[in-house]
Symmetry: C2
């Protein structure tokens, strides 16, 4: 019998369904099975050592899109497969980013900061704007689709440049290498990062990289906080290089209660909520069930993480 | 010579263009011409009596979509034509309403009210929601188009019911009379009013009318404040009948600094900004120029207001 440890609590109906579809599998929600399970749905930091000493462990299905909190190197050494929940969060992140953009364009950020004041804030024309999206995977594409609906130009940055799957959404796509050696600053209105937390992205957005775009733009980070050097960001806000910043992720999370980022007049900070799903389990369990079927029939898993790349 | 008083200050280039296109017209920006001008672009409350004693006055082009602040009855008596700027503001109002909806659905309203707190707010699924839009003119249709993009069901309420021009955007349209005598409460998530400020709409949304929909919805008012009885609204918030309210317009404007509506935990108040245009004059002057051409050639004016209906 194959043992599966479910660290995301299923609803009664979901567990019954899994048990019925996979009679050859024993499902448990008891964390003490961390030492014996072959497959794990979800993760708990405090069980890390137990998992890594469990020689039966073959596959971990993460409940998130980003997997920077998992021991990727040890997984690689032990040939433990890792799949993520990429795709489930895309539309919600796009909605959150669209909310940020409309807060900025409709002058609502300033209104929120001045309750009780009757004034006309500056408003911006979405149809004259350009969004530059770092990361053109499922999340970046979905954000691009929303920006396009608002009438914006949409540019992308990724590792390989434009391809057929991107041309519906993106007007231009350049590579990260191109971006690093631009001969001329880009003229954009929103720089939106969905970059994952990997070695390659750590501290990528420093003062120099943030100044590859002309002054006056708004930074949105819904990827990982490690990609943006917060000290450089604050400097650029101070000298009015950046118009504003909408940050959902931070160098250290949870962001401390007394951080300037919560109260800075041109920063809108949110507690890592951009991808929250209204019905998380309802969407995660079908993905897991499909992958479990693939695993049991020796087919390739969906959303397999490249452990050396980190996403 | 026909005299036109411009109470919306044109840019130099705009004035030159008008002067060139209409050599038979004298354009002035001097308010003392209120007593002699045949045509006025814009309005000033303090000039009302002068305007009404000016027997040359034939046509007023308002700079707003709503015209409740103008002396409609006197205009009707004196056969003064009134046109509004309907259409210019639609997309901006739709953007603002979409911003409100995403603030609610992504849990941002609660985050804004608790800066510094790291928590998971409740999030809502746009694709499971229904928006009920009161008013199916240009503004209501544009809001509907945005709601549809978010994946919502879109219902409308107007005076005449569904017609061909509405079926692209609205799943259902009922009449105001139908709404008033519903046999069963409607199950909706957002009630969005773009109703103008007229005799027929004054106090329309009282406790009874707001309870024609099932409890738990969010009220959005971007029409006129006179349509919503604020006392009844506050009562319904108090008894948790309404989930929340996003109000851009009020019974008395400007809303006083100490109004509970600025600080109520479930109200998001904004200072009548939903329709602000980034480039107002750039859009208003072409509309006015076209209408002036129609006026001079005895053709019917665009955006003519029905003075007895009030919009």
């Amino acid at each position: 019998m194959i043992q599966v440890l479910l660290l995301v609590q299923p609803k009664k109906r979901q567990l019954e369904k899994l048990t019925k579809i996979f009679p050859q599998v024993v499902f448990t929600t008891d964390p003490s099975s961390a030492s014996t399970a072959e497959i794990v749905l979800g993760w708990r930091a405090e069980l890390k050592e137990v998992f890594l000493q469990n020689s039966n462990l073959k596959w971990v299905q993460a409940q998130s899109a980003g997997v920077d909190y998992l021991p990727l190197k040890e997984f690689a050494n032990k040939k433990i497969l890792l799949t993520n929940a990429s795709g489930l969060h895309s539309r919600y992140i796009a909605e959150t980013v669209t909310g940020y953009i409309l807060l900025e364009n409709r002058g609502l950020r300033k209104i929120i900061q001045h309750p009780g004041e009757w004034f006309e804030p500056e408003v911006l024309e979405s149809r004259e704007q350009t969004a530059l999206i770092f990361g053109t995977g499922k999340i970046g594409r979905e954000i691009g689709r929303y920006c396009r609906f608002l009438g914006m130009q949409v540019w992308g940055v990724n590792r390989h440049g434009m391809d057929d799957s991107l041309s519906d959404v993106f007007d231009h796509v350049i590579t990260l290498a191109d971006y690093q050696k631009l001969s001329k600053q880009l003229e954009i209105n929103f720089l939106i990062s969905v970059l994952p937390g990997t070695k390659a992205t750590a501290g990528f957005f420093d003062q120099k990289m943030l100044q590859q775009c002309q002054p006056g733009y708004t930074l949105i980070n819904v990827g990982r906080g490690s990609a943006v050097k917060e000290r450089d960001l604050l400097n650029l806000l101070k000298i009015d290089y950046l118009r504003s910043a909408y940050l959902d992720v931070f160098e250290h999370e949870p962001l401390s209660k007394d951080s300037i980022l919560w109260h800075h007049p041109r920063v809108f900070a949110t507690p890592h909520i951009s991808g929250l799903l209204p019905h998380f389990r309802q969407e995660l369990f079908p993905l897991f069930s499909d992958n479990l079927n693939r695993y049991l029939t020796n087919r390739s898993l969906r959303n397999l993480v490249d452990l050396s790349a980190g996403y």
